[in-house]
C-alpha cells in the first residue's frame, strides 16, 4: 500500500476514526494491527519476519537491560549481530556474491554462484536501524521498553515503517502512553502535511523523474549543459520525493497526535557539506553519528583518526542506501568531501580568517560577516552554490546505473560543460527541442523556481511565519492542493525512491 494510493486514502481515515473512537488502552493494539495490515498488504510472509525480528529484539533487549555489567556487552553484541545478519542476508547477499564472483574471475576462477531469489523486505534498513539504536541506548543505561505492544509499534508504526524517519524510542514510546484527546489541530496540521507531501511527490518529483530517467539512461543524447539541468532535476526529484514521503509520514502520525522527527531542513541552502548532512535525511545522519561515528572513536583521537572515522561512517552510510558499488563510491565521495571541508577550515584558521575551533563565529561565513557585511553575504552565497554543485556531482554517483555511466557523466559535467558554456548556443540544448513531455523545456524555469522556494521558505521560517499563518491562507492552500492533486493523481504514480533502501 503506497501513501499515494487510493487504498491509503481509505485505510488512513478508517484507522484514525477507530483510534479516536476506542478507549486509550486499546489504541496501541489497534495501531499495531493496522501497521501489520499495512505491511502485509505487500507480502504477508514478510510481516511474520518483522514480527519475529521484533520479538527477538524485545526479549534480548530485556535480557540486556537486566543483565549484570559483564554480560551487557555480550547481549549488545548479540542484538547487533542478529540485526546486521538479517539486514546483510536480505540486502547484501546478492551483492556479496557478485563481488566475490568478479574477484574470483580476476584470479582466473570461474565460480558458478548459487541462483538465489532474495526479495528485500520493505523498510528493513529503517527498522533494523531502530532496533540497533534501541539496544545501544538500553546498553548505555536508558530504561528498556517492558510492553511488547509498545515496542512492536515502535518498530512497525505504519506511518514511518517503510522509509522512516528513523525514530528514537525515547521520543516515540512515551507518546503512546499519553491518554490524549482528539484535537482539531491534529487533523488540520496532519492533513495539511499529507497534502503538501502528496503535492511534492505527485506533482513535482514524479514529473522530474521523467527527466532524470531519460537523462541518466541516455547520457550520450544530451549535451553537457543538458546534463547539468538533468542532474539538477534529479537533485530536486530525490529531495521532493523523500521530503514528500516524510511529510506524509509526519502528517499521518500527527493525525494520531504523535510527533515523529523531521528529516529535512532546506538542504540545498547548506553552505558546506557538513552543513548539508545536518539538513539532509537528518534522522539517518544523526543515527550514523550516534551509533557509528562516535562508537568508532569519533573525533577523540586526533585529526587522522577522526578523518578515518568520518570516511568509514560515510562509506557505510553509502552502502546502507543500496547494495551496489556506485552507492559505496557515493558514500566515499561524501566522506572525502567532509574531510576536505575540515582541512579547508584548518587552512582558514591558519590564515586567520576563522577563529580557532570552539570559539564563537567559527564558521567562515560568520567570520567574514564580522568584516564587511556585503563580503560575508557574497561568501555565503558562493558557498551555497559551490556546496549545491558538489552535492549534485554526488547525486550523479547515486543515480547512475553503474560507475561507468557515472564517471562518463561527471567527466562531461566537469570537462565539457565549461567549453559549452563558453560557446553557448541554445540550438545545442536538447531540452529545448523536446516538447513532449513538456517538463524538459520547463526545466529552465522550474529549477531556479524550486531553488527560490528554498530561499523563500528560509525567509518565512526566519520570520516564524509558520507559527501563526493566516486562516485564509491555510484554507486556500488546502483547497488548492486538493484541486491540483485531484487533477494530477489519476494516472498511476511510481513508488517512492527511498522504498528501495
Amino acid at each position: 500500500m503506497l501513501f499515494n494510493s487510493l487504498e491509503y486514502l481509505i485505510f488512513l481515515p478508517v484507522v484514525v476514526l477507530l483510534f479516536w473512537a476506542v478507549p486509550h488502552k486499546f489504541r496501541v493494539t489497534l495501531l499495531l494491527v493496522a501497521s501489520y495490515v499495512f505491511y502485509m498488504s505487500w507480502r504477508a510472509e514478510y510481516g511474520l519476519m518483522l514480527l519475529g525480528l521484533t520479538a527477538v529484539n524485545f526479549l534480548m533487549g530485556l535480557k540486556l537491560a537486566d543483565a549484570a555489567e559483564k554480560a551487557r556487552k555480550l547481549w549488545l553484541a548479540c542484538i547487533i549481530a542478529v540485526n546486521l545478519v538479517t539486514l546483510g542476508y536480505f540486502k547484501y547477499t546478492l551483492f556479496g556474491i557478485s563481488v566475490a564472483k568478479d574477484g574470483l574471475k580476476l584470479l582466473g576462477v570461474n565460480w558458478h554462484s548459487p541462483a538465489l531469489d532474495i526479495i528485500l523486505p520493505l523498510g528493513i534498513s529503517f527498522f533494523v536501524f531502530e532496533f540497533i539504536h534501541y539496544a545501544v541506548e538500553v546498553y548505555r543505561g536508558r530504561p528498556a521498553v517492558r510492553s511488547f505492544p509498545d515496542f512492536a509499534l515502535f518498530a512497525s508504526f505504519f506511518a514511518t515503517q517503510i522509509a522512516g524517519p528513523i525514530k528514537r524510542y525515547e521520543d516515540f514510546v512515551p507518546q503512546l502512553n499519553v491518554p490524549a484527546k482528539f484535537k482539531w489541530e491534529y487533523a488540520d496540521d496532519g492533513v495539511q502535511l499529507i497534502l503538501l507531501g502528496l503535492f511534492k511527490k505527485v506533482v513535482i518529483a514524479d514529473n522530474l523523474a521523467i527527466v532524470a530517467q531519460a537523462g541518466f539512461s541516455n547520457i550520450y543524447d544530451f549535451s553537457a549543459l543538458d546534463l547539468w539541468l538533468i542532474t539538477y532535476a534529479f537533485a530536486f526529484q530525490i529531495f521532493f520525493d523523500f521530503a514528500g514521503y516524510t511529510d506524509i509520514a509526519r502528517g499521518s502520525a500527527m493525525l494520531f497526535g504523535y510527533k515523529v522527527p523531521i528529516n529535512f531542513n532546506l538542504p540545498y541552502l547548506a553552505a558546506n557539506v557538513s552543513d548539508f548532512w545536518h539538513r539532509w535525511h537528518i534522522s539517518l545522519s544523526t543515527w550514523l553519528r550516534d551509533y557509528l561515528f562516535i562508537p568508532l572513536g569519533g573525533s577523540r583521537f586526533g585529526r587522522w583518526f577522526t578523518y578515518r572515522n568520518l570516511f568509514l561512517t560515510m562509506l557505510l552510510g553509502g552502502l546502507w542506501h543500496g547494495a551496489a558499488t556506485h552507492f559505496l563510491v557515493w558514500g566515499a565521495y561524501q566522506g572525502v568531501l567532509l574531510i576536505l571541508h575540515k582541512e579547508y577550515l584548518r587552512l582558514l584558521e591558519r590564515v586567520g580568517l576563522r577563529p580557532a575551533q570552539g570559539q564563537p563565529g567559527a564558521s567562515p561565513s560568520e567570520a567574514l560577516r564580522e568584516k564587511p557585511k556585503v563580503l560575508g553575504r557574497i561568501y555565503h552565497v558562493v558557498s551555497v552554490v559551490v556546496t549545491f554543485h558538489l552535492v549534485c556531482i554526488g547525486w550523479v554517483l547515486f543515480r547512475a546505473d553503474n560507475l561507468r555511466i557515472a564517471w562518463t557523466m561527471i567527466r562531461k559535467l566537469i570537462v565539457d560543460a565549461p567549453v559549452e558554456l563558453w560557446n553557448f548556443s541554445a540550438a545545442k540544448l536538447t531540452v529545448l527541442q523536446i516538447r513532449d513531455p513538456l517538463i524538459f523545456p520547463w526545466l529552465l524555469y522550474l529549477i531556479p523556481g524550486l531553488m527560490l522556494v528554498h530561499v523563500l521558505t528560509a525567509w518565512l521560517n526566519k520570520k516564524e511565519f509558520y507559527l501563526k499563518p493566516p486562516l485564509f491562507l491555510q484554507v486556500a492552500c488546502m483547497v488548492l492542493l486538493v484541486c491540483v492533486l485531484a487533477v494530477f493523481s489519476s494516472e498511476s504514480s511510481p513508488k517512492f525512491i527511498y522504498f528501495q533502501f
Binding site: 484535537k183 489541530e185 492533513v191 531542513n265 513538456l438 487533477v487
Partner: protein
C-alpha cells in the same frame, strides 16, 4: 559531523483548544464541497471527448471515421489478431504500404463482398490491438452512438480476449480508459471494476468533478503550458529535431498506449519471403495465471455485445480466429474446450452464426507468429469468411440487400 548533539528536532507545538468551527480542515472541506457542486452543475471545461491527452488507437479510429463521409454496411471488431491480418492482407492487395492509423477498413474483404453479393459494400474496421471482450462491447456501443448501425458486424474473437494475466481487471486496459470517455460504461462497471477500491475510484470519477475531468483539464493545461513555454523558451530553429522515435528510445515507458502512425506501417508482402517470430514467451505470461473472475466478467461482457446487437438490429457473426497449435499448448488446461463451448452456447442462445476457423484449416506458413496471421493467412482468412457468409443463405440475402440499399443511398446522395 560532530559529536555534539544537535538541537532537538523541530516539531512545531500544537496550539490547543481549536473548535470545530475554526478547523481549517473542515472549512476547506466545505469550500471544496461547494466548488465541486458548482463544477458538477456547470461543467466548466468543455472538450471533445474523442480527444485524449495522447493519441491512442481509439482516437485514430474516431478521427478517421469522422473524416470518412461514406457510409459503411459491414463492421469488423476484434483484437490485434484481426488488425494485423487485415493490415498485411490489404497492404499486399492494394500493393502499397498502409498506415493503420488512417486505414480503418478491410479493402480486400470489401472486394470479396462486392464480388459475392454485389451493390456497394463498404467496411469499417473497429479492431484494436489488445481489445478484450469488455473493450469490444464499449467500442461497438460508442461507434453506434456516434456514427451508425452497421448492417453486419463480424466479431473475431480469440482466447486472449477472455483471459490475459497482464491485465488485472477489465476496467484497467488502456482501451477501456479511452473508451470510457466516449460512451457510458455504467452497465458493465460492475464487471469491469472487480475490487472495492477500483469501484470506489470509478465512483469518485463521477462524484468529484476535478478527478473525473482530470484528462480534460490535463489537456487544457498542456495546451496553455505549451503556449507559455513556446513564448518563454522557443525551440531553436537550427537545433536537431527531437521527434517521436527519439522519445520512444529515450523514454520507452512514457505513454505506452500512445500510437504513432509510423508504428502501424504495413508493407506489401514480398513473394517468397518467410519469417516466423516465436512470441511464446509473451503468451506464456498472458495465459500464465488464470483468473476465473476475470474470465467470467469477460464472458458476461461478450454476452452484452450479443444482446446489444440483438436489441439494435445488427446482424452479428462470431468468428473464432485461428491460432497455432504451439500457442494453444500454452493455454490453461481445459481452457480451449471451455472457451469454445462458451462461444457455441452464447451464439446458440442469441441465434448468432458462429464460424470456428480454428479447426486446423490454417497452418504455420500462414502465421507471422504464434497467433497473428501473415499477409497470405489474412487473405485466406477473408476468403474463407466471404465463403462462409455466402454459404449462409440468410446472411447472403442480408448482404445482397445491404449492398443494394447502400448503392441506392450513395446514388441518391450523389444527386
Amino acid at each position: 559531523m560532530s559529536e555534539q548533539k544537535t538541537q532537538p528536532l523541530k516539531n512545531e507545538p500544537l496550539q490547543s483548544g481549536r473548535r470545530a468551527a475554526e478547523s481549517r480542515l473542515l472549512i476547506a472541506a466545505l469550500v471544496l464541497l461547494l466548488i465541486n457542486m458548482v463544477a458538477l452543475t456547470v461543467q466548466p471545461v468543455k472538450v471533445d471527448r474523442s480527444k485524449h491527452p495522447f493519441r491512442g488507437w481509439i482516437s485514430w479510429i474516431w478521427e478517421d471515421l469522422d473524416r470518412r463521409a461514406d457510409g459503411f454496411n459491414t463492421a469488423i471488431l476484434g483484437s490485434s489478431l484481426i488488425v494485423e491480418a487485415t493490415g498485411r492482407c490489404d497492404a499486399t492487395y492494394l500493393k502499397k504500404p498502409l498506415r493503420l492509423t488512417d486505414h480503418h477498413r478491410a479493402s480486400y474483404f470489401e472486394h470479396l463482398l462486392k464480388q459475392k453479393f454485389g451493390g456497394l459494400q463498404k467496411s469499417v474496421n473497429l479492431s484494436a490491438p489488445g481489445l478484450m471482450a469488455s473493450d469490444g462491447y464499449l467500442m461497438l456501443k460508442g461507434y453506434v452512438e456516434r456514427f451508425q448501425h452497421p448492417d453486419l458486424l463480424v466479431y473475431a474473437v480469440a482466447p486472449r480476449d477472455f483471459l490475459d494475466a497482464t491485465v488485472d481487471m477489465p476496467g484497467h486496459t488502456m482501451l477501456f480508459h479511452e473508451l470510457k470517455r466516449l460512451t457510458s460504461t455504467e452497465d458493465i462497471d460492475h464487471l469491469a471494476f472487480m475490487t472495492p477500491v477500483s469501484r470506489l475510484d470509478r465512483a469518485l470519477e463521477g462524484a468529484v468533478y476535478l478527478y473525473g475531468a482530470s484528462a480534460d483539464l490535463s489537456m487544457k493545461l498542456k495546451q496553455t503550458s505549451q503556449g507559455i513555454i513556446d513564448a518563454l523558451a522557443p525551440r531553436p530553429a537550427d537545433g536537431h529535431f527531437f521527434g517521436w522515435k527519439d522519445r520512444r528510445r529515450v523514454l520507452p515507458q512514457y505513454r505506452l498506449a500512445e500510437v504513432h502512425p509510423d508504428m502501424t506501417l504495413y508493407e506489401p508482402a514480398v513473394e517468397g519471403a518467410r519469417r516466423f517470430v516465436d512470441n511464446s514467451g509473451e503468451y506464456r505470461e498472458r495465459y500464465g495465471r488464470f483468473d476465473e473472475r476475470q474470465f467470467e466478467a469477460q464472458v458476461e461482457c461478450f454476452r452484452h455485445t450479443l444482446q446489444f446487437c440483438d436489441h439494435n438490429g445488427i446482424r452479428l457473426v462470431i468468428v473464432n480466429m485461428p491460432i497455432t497449435e504451439a500457442n494453444k499448448k500454452l493455454l490453461p488446461s481445459g481452457f480451449e474446450k471451455r472457451y469454445k463451448t462458451m462461444l457455441q452456447e452464447s451464439c446458440h442462445q442469441w441465434a448468432v452464426p458462429y464460424f470456428d476457423f480454428d479447426d486446423g484449416g490454417f497452418n504455420r506458413d500462414q502465421f507471422e507468429d504464434t497467433v497473428h496471421l501473415n499477409a497470405r493467412g489474412g487473405k485466406d482468412f477473408y476468403d474463407r469468411l466471404a465463403q462462409s457468409l455466402s454459404h449462409n443463405p440468410e446472411l447472403a440475402l442480408h448482404l445482397i440487400d445491404s449492398g443494394k440499399r447502400a448503392l441506392a443511398g450513395s446514388v441518391k446522395q450523389s444527386y
